[in-house]
Point group: D3
Chain length 339, copies 6
């Protein structure tokens, strides 16, 4: 098993019960998550030794976040204390035609986005792990976050560790002219990365590539552009998913993996959705698990897809399935009670 860290912010998720709105309800359930949190938590359930590199305030909210990370099985050695705030988001679930809503508090003022790590931390982290996970959401935050993300990636790479980067472009975070502003930072990360999560949209919009064949359907664009990205940036493994929301509220997910110049695809999975936040992180953790172990690519996409589907069936952002759960799910349709 590997030793894996993620660098990213810990967010507090506050959600109204059932399908009620903030105006209707008077209570909230809370938990702590974040793209990096989700990935390393999932990986710890797959048997890896995992770490989060982040910063939390030295107050009750920071204490609660730290307890929660430990509960998830993540080592908190590299979580610094300092700054004043935890990033938060409020979640109101939608129903049918009524969309769910996410309302953020000010993330830029959070401890993660205001307090720099001690430079010596980068070496310590790089020494402790085999791979580090980064995500485009962190890249969108501010100059401090961007500087740190690149510094840590460089140190890890220079010491022989693997750099994993999930493009995860969020329009609302980059704002106007976002793609143009994001492009140089994404390119820097791709130069450093060994495993990348993306699909054709990232290639077209953020990297500004174009389809020479003029293909307009996503699959053709994917088949044309991903190999170009792999070649241009020297990325061994690129993976991602296509998601379709169906008329009956089920979702269909198709995972792909590109490695050594070839594509592997999983069978499309159609399923009911209980809580969709964090499912992309589950897919990423599945690919990382299989690739770091050296599983064959077809097994990797199948495993990652099952992990992603399971993540839709669990309350909260953070995947909870063990490796055994995922393996079981790879050969099954619908679950029956296990007595």
């Amino acid at each position: 098993m590997s030793r894996i860290a993620a660098f990213g912010e810990v967010m507090m998720r506050l959600e109204t019960p059932g399908y009620s709105t903030l105006s209707q309800s008077g209570s909230l359930a809370y938990s702590f998550s974040g793209s990096g949190v989700n990935v390393v938590s999932a990986l710890s359930r797959f048997g890896h030794e995992t770490y989060l590199a982040s910063t939390l305030p030295d107050n009750s909210l920071g204490d609660a976040a730290l307890s929660y990370l430990r509960k998830l099985g993540v080592q908190t050695t590299f979580v610094n204390r300092g700054g004043r705030y935890v990033g938060m988001y409020f979640l109101e679930r939608g129903f049918g035609i009524r969309p769910g809503k996410v309302t953020y508090t000010d993330r830029l003022g959070s401890s993660f986005n205001t307090v720099p790590h001690d430079p010596a931390d980068w070496e310590r982290i790089a020494d402790a792990v085999d791979a580090v996970h980064f995500c485009g959401i962190t890249l969108a935050m501010n100059e401090l976050a961007r500087t740190q993300i690149k510094r840590l990636a460089s140190v890890v790479k220079s010491r022989g560790g693997k750099v994993i980067f999930d493009c995860n472009y969020r329009p609302s975070l980059w704002g106007e002219d976002g793609h143009a502003r994001a492009k140089p930072h994404y390119r820097e990360m791709l130069e450093l990365a060994d495993i990348v999560f993306m699909n054709e949209k990232d290639a077209l919009l953020t990297l500004g590539m174009t389809s020479s064949s003029g293909a307009e359907d996503p699959l053709s664009q994917l088949l044309e552009l991903i190999p170009q990205v792999a070649k241009q940036y020297g990325i061994g493994t690129i993976a991602g998913t296509h998601r379709r929301v169906n008329a009956d509220n089920t979702h269909t997910l198709t995972g792909y993996l590109h490695a050594d110049g070839a594509f592997w695809f999983a069978q499309p999975s159609t399923f009911a959705v209980y809580d969709r936040v964090g499912a992309g992180d589950a897919y990423a953790s599945g690919i990382m698990h299989a690739c770091l172990r050296g599983d064959d690519p077809q097994y990797a996409v199948d495993y990652a897809t099952a992990a992603a589907v399971l993540a839709h069936t669990v309350h909260g952002d953070t995947p909870l399935a063990s490796e055994a759960d995922v393996v079981k799910a790879m050969s099954r349709k619908a679950g029956d009670i296990e007595r």
Copy 2:
């Protein structure tokens, strides 16, 4: 925007959690609603200045109801205090083949149904608003309710305000020979009304009309009878819906509007149902909103249908969608999280 009042009873809704029965559970969630409450609450979210004319006891339950009305955005200037009781109903949700159940407490002893308004109230209300909404449920209560409903409708009409009447015939409230007993009162209301909510069943059963063509399907009957009602009672706008409960528990709703001798229909909408109580009131409020603004009839039925569909997706009797929410829903199938 218009100033609109509704005249009607405030009911306390007490419901068991989830799908449990009163014998299983030990707790209840409560809220306050009523046909008039629902309509003016929805209209206040569409930007109108709204009032409820009603009566509540001067005790803790009355205080709680009043707070709740204010929270909904309804002005309570015309809510009198007096009498002793609030009407209540207990709701046990059904599941699949198991029907939901509504159990009432004694509505006839409620403050609304026992304490007459000061006659001067009618003038005050008529002066304050452009339109008043009434409903067939109030008409079914007792002589006091019927006298007051007609008196207020007359005063509003005489001062140039619009009278809106929702037929809303409830068999259990009118009892034996109900249609015969109801007929004269419904006719009086139709004589006064500018906008009426009904469909062919009201024409056939309550008004005792017959289809000369012998048509037996609801749509043909609607197309034949509604124009006759419009003509006979001089009603500018008549609107309503046809609802079909499908085998897979989804519902299909088709809204219609008849104005100036012509019919407009919305595309049938099929959707999953979260809480169906109050959806008819949402449709009514959508029509009222569009008609009072002078929107064209097709926009009115489309808007009202979207408002009704959204009302099925929200917990509680009372529609919560803003005008922006409805407009967004008019051009959409299923909702995705809005970050």
Copy 3:
């Protein structure tokens, strides 16, 4: 052990959580109680075979009440179904200087107060039991309740059963000139009763007696008047309590028993109060238990006092202590965890 019935209404108690008001909260816990319910429930925990004679509507609320009675250990053979409503009260707990509040729905329209029992029921009940408990609250309801209470008491007495009557005068139920209106009915009940619960206030206010000695303190009045009541109405056992609410929110309770011309008193008990409703019924059930078994009077007052104190420590109107619990409490100050 004895067979004991109570004749009385089943009330639904709906209470806000903690110390919140109906305007603040949105949820209620519910349970079913009533003076008769409380007494027979307590007696069933003391080992007696108990029955309730009452009427409940044939709907979901009636079903829930019936389940609840069975759970309490009360036989429901004599609970008829019919009528339309269950009496209800809403409870908002007070704190310190802020008083708790009880808000009733219309009790007079309840099944119990509108549907007469089949006359043959009285014989059936009288045949099945050794004693029947009645309460002044039922006597206050309406003519139907009064007629039935007296009829059942007469039949039981004529067949050799014991009649137990708890005066329990509630000013708000008798209204203006209440004492005068109540007096003849109370006198009839006292004529029939073998065991009576009352204190000097009932003698002075309801029965209209006066203290010849001019005593003004409650104890002196009690010592003077209770023997007169016992003699005048031929009542073997009269019992009751004096309650004092102390400045620190604790209560002090002093129980007394008058039998065969002599008084017995329990040591005053001072204790913190968790839920005071129903504690009087616990005292009554303690006296009934001891007297029906033939325990000596001092044991009876001590046992009844301990039962009453325990009833203050349990959530809900209905006492839950077993005979063993009461006996243990008779020799103890404050409870420690029992492992």
Copy 4:
């Protein structure tokens, strides 16, 4: 109506809220059930006088279980107190591809499985009832349970009562070589039984029968083997169901009844599932109700199927439908609110 007892263990069910896991949640809802509890509770709602024969510890958990049984309408005269533990199981609901999980505490140490009944109890029970229900789960427990189950069945049969046996084979309880170990005990029970619940799997696996025709589909096997079982063991009525879990998470249930050499089948029912535990017991209680009343076989399967479908729509193991509810459900597709 009949007098019916069940002999079986009372289990405490502890379940996490919603779809959360034991690691996520911090609270549990609890109730008490068991195959026998479910059957007699359902039968008491169909109008029968019902009893449970079981043993509970004399502590707070035993008290709570006893209250719960009374609430369900089951007479507890034959529930002894003794031993130390209540059997428990923890339930985590699954969602879609994620299976639900049941985790047991040590059932073999429970009061039911360690404390023998007084031999005189068997006569008392046999005298009080017309029929007794047993279940294969009890048979799997230990020698004490098996001895007692057979003893009571013999006594009931010898006094003219009916013996009902539900095969209900649970692999995890019989362990390795389970079918071989179970076979002699199942054969003994079948010899004694008048009504048996089973299907072709029990014939093939537990009784070790083979299909001479070599049929491989369950229906053909059922049609071939059940008549042989009926003949060999002299069983008047054999009934059971086939369940299919569909791709969209709905279930399809097909009930059958074999009596007097002929088969009757219900129309397959397809429905959404709210809580599937206990639905088999609902089917059994439906067959017992109809057979003990002498209804015709087609009515019996239809009634039992409707009862089983309704049991899937109610939270908890224990069916709650009244006879009227079942009859209503027999002629209906999906439920609408009943006002």
Copy 5:
């Protein structure tokens, strides 16, 4: 009755249940409050027409806050929408020796503290009301808040309205050298104010006054300094309280009022505390109510003290007592259930 506005921030209060910490719990109850919110909400229950002048973001949290204000009975005409965030605080209740904890999110980035009001708003508000309430917490925020507070106070004063200022100095908000930084702003506000809430600590620490007599006990200092403040700044009414936390966790409150050169004191009140946040605002609202009505000073301190004590008995920051409740509490020790 008067028309009264408050100018201040709406805060979201998020609290863990019972006495649990953020690390232990997973749920929060939320409500909306703020010093100005509390004061005008209390005054609306005393019969006044009240307004809040504030700013809320145009998102779900802003909508929820607005609903909550309306529920409290406060007119929201002067609540603007804009900016991005609502100020929040997390509350963990303490127990005994374990202190409660308040953890804030970034208040300075809230809508209230970042979005300036349209200058025309000040005239509109001044025209609509007879008095405006300000508080030292707002003064501590930032330059925008300070500029606006002074501008509105000036406009109100210039149009003949009354300016009410509650000193409410919070050390953590002013930071290092806070008193020195605060002094000029406090002096400006005192120049404008008609009614001021403060005690000797404000005079000594913030205004930098000294006791010429060298008195060291708070009462002597109060008696010496408050008349000087009244004279120097020309303030008609100054009022405040002394609070003492007793060893048994009860609090003792002593209210004072200084007007026309004389002091009035209320009897010290000792009471158990359910929720202490907001009690100072209740005292202020009591003084404002009595002074604006022209009640005599002794009645004013007594009324305000009773209002403050009642505010300790209610969950949440916001006082809920009606005028009738306060008057009742003025003549009472401990509350008994009101049936």
Copy 6:
């Protein structure tokens, strides 16, 4: 800071809400604790690196327990998986005269008490830590537990680690003639121990010592016997508390420490109790913290007493106070909100 392990069982605590009984409630809150769990959790909050040595089943309950331990900050490297059950106890809180109740499931069948550790574990643990904590509850379990406890203690001692033993005699676990049965095992543990928690009762009852002076008050007995124990068994540090439950439900705690032939006492603390379970473990962890650091004895008793008092103010068995919290509490009476 030190590295400290505890060897002991993880118990699941299931408690009814508020003051309700298992018969009244339908829900339970659960958490995981145990004497060893409590001690190392408290020590991890004081800054030590802590471990639990225990065994949990490889099922959902075991997973939940493991998550909970991690959340508490305890390393789970030495928690094995195996066996079938988790020990459980149900807690019903008492109120005033009504005692709380603890009901256990079968602890002897738990994973901890049935599955032996790999002998190599003892060396691994001894290598990893500076001290190990044991407790008399484990000693009471069965021969397996006793063998393991002594083996680990010996190995730790032989490698220079400290052995800490908390006598914690539980009569119900040792049963009849318990003290006689326990004596040899306690003596063995005392021979091995460096720090022991006990008081005069353990010396008199378990060790069978007698007071030569004939002293009957606990303090005199303590002063006479503890030095003898220290001398006889060569124990450097012995510590413990005297607890008194006062009439007003407060508790008074007096901590003592005996080291190097001398006694140190803390000032008696009197306080209200929120949750008393686990307070003894908090005292033990305070003594261990101070002694392992080499603090002076007076500081140690004062620190331990403050830690114990704080543990009474927190819900759950497990102390939550940080070192800073304890230090703050050492100089304070009652807590005020910290903003």
